[in-house]
Amino acid sequence: MMGVALRRLASALPVLLLVSLITFGMMRLIPGDPAAAIAGLSATPQQVAQIRADLGLDQPFLQQLVHWYGGLLQGDLGRSILMGRGVFAVTMERLPVTLGLSAYALVLTLLIGLLCGIAAALKQNTIIDQLAMVFAMIGISVPSFFLGLVMIIVFAVHLGWLPTGGYVPFAQDPWGWFRSVTMPAISLALLQAGLLARITRSTMLEVMRQDYIRTARAKGLPYHQVVFRHALANALIPITTVVGIIISLLLSGAVVTEALFSIPGIGQLLTQAVLNRDYPMVQGGLLLVTGFLVLVNIGIDLLYAVLDPRVRYE
């Protein structure tokens, strides 16, 4: 098991290298100049050039790259141009906000997706199946920003149950946090829940047709044991893979949601950084997020091995 984890970690290095190269190159390819952004509109060309030299942006591309990688090797992600603080510190400040929101959305996704999918499969071709699938279809086809807007208008503006936006840190006021991220989490989760419900349904239907389910019934096991033990234990194997993808999608979906609900998470941080051409912030922040996703995927692989003995013993 440890071997699997280590091997996966090693194979993640090229991924991180590639991502860092691409972001580094992209940032310098898109037009715009961080020095001009810092200097402001009234700055003279000399002042801008001075700032550019201070930031090392006047050096050739390759030299900048080597300089950046040199820093990375020493564990230094660089400083944000805009905020003048270490990229690592800033990211670690904002990441928990996004992770909290995504985790909340993941819990909703799993609850709604698994329940709807299992219920639909067990009650195939009944009204329950149809309702669950209509719900999933809505989740999949309504864009999350639109859903977010509708929820803001209905629940925040008209009914006044929830705040229209803004963010309350969990440590400061758990209930306030819960209220401030509920709508964002729902708008984020619904698409994924719809996908998960459909995949869970088809997986369960497939598993319920297997010979070992017939064996479980032939042994005289009660129905709930046949479904929630024998069938689910097998269905969870392919579902786990999908959940791994869903986690990545939730994190990237958080960018839009954070903007809509003005939540100061990593999405907002990086959007700002891109708009202001804050090169070190974008490069370092994305690298950290990618690293986190790689860890999540390794976790999923390990979970996969726990669920499937055939994988474990290979």
Partner: protein, 330 residues
């Protein structure tokens, strides 16, 4: 009194082209300790018969149109799913054709045996495990204590079928239904599994219903045989009598397909034509289009199963003519 008594059982499936009967008017019994063989081509309704008894057919599309399945004084066709769960295991147990896929791949084999016992009896964890180890030993799994913690994919096909048998035996069933238990296994393993089943019958006194399309398996194991064709029983006989004096032309055809050592060269004569789909069955006798002895009268009525000798019945209206034709030297 018979252990299992099936009367006029008809099971149908709802399909796109309407309702079709998979088995029709099936009647037979099994005595305690008896081994009953059921033979017939693929699609003749053997598995549907077994699964109807077990109550394991998906309903819908399956539907029992008529008949009764008496076991232990109860009509199984009238029981609820919950009541059937109590019968499955201690009353009737079943093993299947595909040992490779019949065990759950994510649970240890010991657990798959123990959960069967747990579903029907209260035992301490220690006693439960001991019983499971004993069962594995009984079905001939070497070093059973160690094997308890194996997963199905770590076992060969023959061993998996032994584990399936151990699961079936876990609650001392009075009837074991074995649906083509050896079809997926190679020949030497086949013989071992059949020997095991017969030993277990002698030791435990349970009845066995063994389903196969292999006449050799029937000859080796069964006391009595049912021959099914297109959803109906066409012949029923004690096993020696069936091989010595088959009556129905279909049975004769099946026996001709078996390589025989008594002849100089193996006679492998396949029956011409193929089994009609349930929706396309001919009028009158279902075997008529493939039968060398068919006469116009065969198209008119469905022949009924009638006793021609003690305990030996066949469903054919041309038996005297066929017997006469066979007696003449060709």
């Amino acid at each position: 009194m018979s252990l299992l008594e099936i009367r006029n059982l008809t099971t149908a499936f709802g399909t796109e082209s309407g309702q079709v009967t998979a088995i029709e008017d099936i009647s037979f019994g099994i005595e305690p300790g008896e081994i009953l063989g059921i033979v017939g081509e693929s699609g003749s309704g053997k598995s549907v018969t077994a699964l109807t008894v077990m109550g394991l057919l998906p309903r819908p599309p399956a539907k029992i149109l008529s008949g009764s399945v008496m076991f232990d004084g109860q009509d199984l066709t009238k029981l609820s799913e919950r009541q059937l769960q109590k019968i499955r295991g201690p009353g009737i147990a079943m093993i299947f054709q595909e040992p490779m896929t019949s065990l759950n791949p994510v649970f240890r084999i010991g657990e798959q045996i123990m959960e069967t016992i747990r579903a029907h009896e209260r035992l301490s964890p220690r006693a439960l495990r001991d019983r499971a180890v004993q069962l594995l030993a009984k079905v001939g799994i070497p070093s059973p204590e160690r094997r308890m913690d194996d997963y199905p994919h770590q076992l060969s096909g023959g061993q998996r079928q032994r584990v399936m048998i151990a699961i079936a035996l876990a609650c001392n069933p009075r009837l074991l239904i074995a649906d083509e238990p050896t079809t997926a296994l190679d020949v030497t393993i086949q013989a071992q599994i059949l020997d095991l089943l017969m030993d277990l019958r002698d030791e435990l006194g349970m009845a066995i219903m063994i389903i196969t399309h292999n006449m050799g398996v029937v000859a080796e194991t069964a006391d009595r045989v049912l021959v099914m064709y297109a959803g109906r029983i066409v012949e029923q006989s004690p096993v020696e009598r069936l091989f010595d004096a088959p009556l129905h032309p279909y049975t004769r055809g099946l026996l001709d397909c078996v390589p025989s050592l008594e002849h100089d060269r193996p006679r492998l004569v396949a029956i011409p034509g193929s089994l009609p789909e349930p929706a396309r069955r001919p009028s009158g006798c279902r075997f008529r289009p493939r039968c060398a002895h068919a006469a116009p009268a065969c198209a008119e009525t469905l022949p009924i199963l009638a006793e021609r000798a003690p305990a030996h019945a066949a469903a054919c209206i041309r038996l005297p003519e066929i017997a006469a034709a066979m007696a003449e030297p060709a």
